[in-house]
Amino acid sequence: MDHILESSSVSESNQAVAGFHVVMRDYGARLSRLAASYVDERADRDDLLQEILLAVWRALPTFRGDASLRTFIYRVAMNRATTFRARRYRRVEYPMTEGLRDPAPPPDARVAALDERERLTRVIRSLPPSLRDVALPYLEDLSIAEIAQLLGITENNVRVRLARARDQLRTLLQEAPA
C-alpha cells in the first residue's frame, strides 16, 4: 500500500496530512472493514469511509495520548459510523437474519472464500449495536482492556458482551447459507 500513499499528491510539508498518511498506511484496511460492517450498500460504504477518514483527520490534532493511537482511531471511526448510520437510516437496528438468506452457491472455491468473508461481514452487520461494538474491535485484535477503554465500559462488561456476541455469531452463521 506504501506506493499508493507515496504517489498521492498531498504535500509532505503539511505535518497533519503526513501524519494522516501514516494512519492510512496502518489503519486503512481496518477502517475499510469497519465501514463495510456498518452499512450494506457499496455507495454507503464509500461515503462512510470518507466520513471516517475526514473525522480521523480532524480529530488527530486532539489526540493527547491518553489511549493508544489505535484505540483513539477506532473510537473516532466507530463514533462517526454510529452517527452516520443514525442519520442515514430511520429504521431501528435489529438482527436481520432474513437478509442473510440469499444468493445462489458460488461457482468455485475462490469465490466461495470471498463469499465466506462477505457472509461474516453481513452477519457482523446484523448484530445488535451493543454486540457489534465489542465484536468488531475484538476481530481487529484489540485487547479486552482496549475495548473497555474504547467503549467506556468495564472489562467484565466486555467479556459478557463478547460471550453473547459469540453465541449470536455462531447461530447466525449456522443460519446463513454457505
Binding site: 475526514l54 473510537r75 461481514t121 445488535p128 449495536p129 461494538d133 485484535d141 467503549l151
Partner: protein, 199 residues
C-alpha cells in the same frame, strides 16, 4: 469448538478482507476531494455569514425609526448566534469524537437536545425577523421606489430570502437531531439488556 478457537477462526476470515489497491487509491482520492470540498464549503459559509452581518448593519444606517433599528439589531444577533452556535457545535462534536462510545453518546445526546432548543429559539426570533424584513421591504419600496436601481430592488429581497433559508435549515437540523436522538434511545435499552446479564 472452544471460544478462543472460534474467535480465532472468525478473526482469520475477517482480517483477510483487504481492500484492493484500486479501492485504496480511490479512497485517498475521495478523501482529498472531500477535504477540498470541506474547505470550500467553510469559506462559502464564512462569506455568507459575513454578508448576513454586514447587510443589516448597512441597512440600519437607513433605519426610518426606532422599531426598524431595533429589529435590525435583532437580525444581527440572530445571524451572530446561529454562526456561533454552529462553530461551538462543530467544535464540541469534534472533541467528543475521540471519547469513548458511552461518553460520545452522552455528548451527542446533549448536543442534539441543545440543537432542538436552539431551533425552538430560532423559530421564535425568525418570526420577529420576518416582520422586520417585511416592514423593511415594504417601507423601503414605498419611500425609495423611484430612486432605486434594479440591483437595489433585488437586494431588498435578501433579508426575506435569508429568513426562508434559515427556516429550511432549522427544519432540517430539527429533523436530523430527532432522528439521532431516536437512534440513541434504541441503543440504550439494547446495551442495558446485554450488560444486565451474566457471561
Amino acid at each position: 469448538m472452544t471460544e478462543t478457537t472460534e474467535w480465532d477462526q472468525w478473526r482469520g476470515s475477517w482480517q483477510t478482507r483487504e481492500p484492493t489497491s484500486d479501492e485504496l487509491r480511490e479512497s485517498m482520492a475521495r478523501f482529498r476531494r472531500a477535504t477540498r470540498r470541506d474547505s470550500v464549503i467553510r469559506a462559502v459559509e464564512w462569506v455568507i455569514t459575513g454578508l448576513a452581518i454586514v447587510f443589516p448593519l448597512v441597512a440600519m444606517r437607513h433605519a426610518a425609526n426606532v422599531i426598524e433599528a431595533t429589529l435590525g439589531i435583532g437580525a444581527l444577533l440572530i445571524v451572530t448566534s446561529v454562526s456561533s452556535f454552529r462553530a461551538w457545535n462543530r467544535r464540541a462534536e469534534r472533541t467528543a469524537l475521540g471519547s469513548s462510545a458511552r461518553e460520545f453518546d452522552d455528548a451527542v445526546r446533549a448536543l442534539r437536545r441543545a440543537e432542538l432548543r436552539f431551533v425552538r429559539f430560532l423559530w421564535l426570533v425568525l418570526g420577529v425577523e420576518g416582520v422586520f424584513a417585511a416592514v423593511w421591504w415594504y417601507g423601503g419600496l414605498a419611500v425609495h421606489h423611484s430612486a432605486l436601481s434594479v440591483l437595489a430592488v433585488g437586494m431588498l429581497w435578501i433579508p426575506l430570502m435569508l429568513v426562508v433559508m434559515t427556516l429550511v435549515w432549522s427544519a432540517r437540523l430539527k429533523s436530523d437531531a430527532m432522528r439521532e436522538l431516536e437512534a440513541l434511545a434504541h441503543r440504550e435499552p439494547a446495551a442495558s439488556a446485554v450488560d444486565g446479564g451474566g457471561p
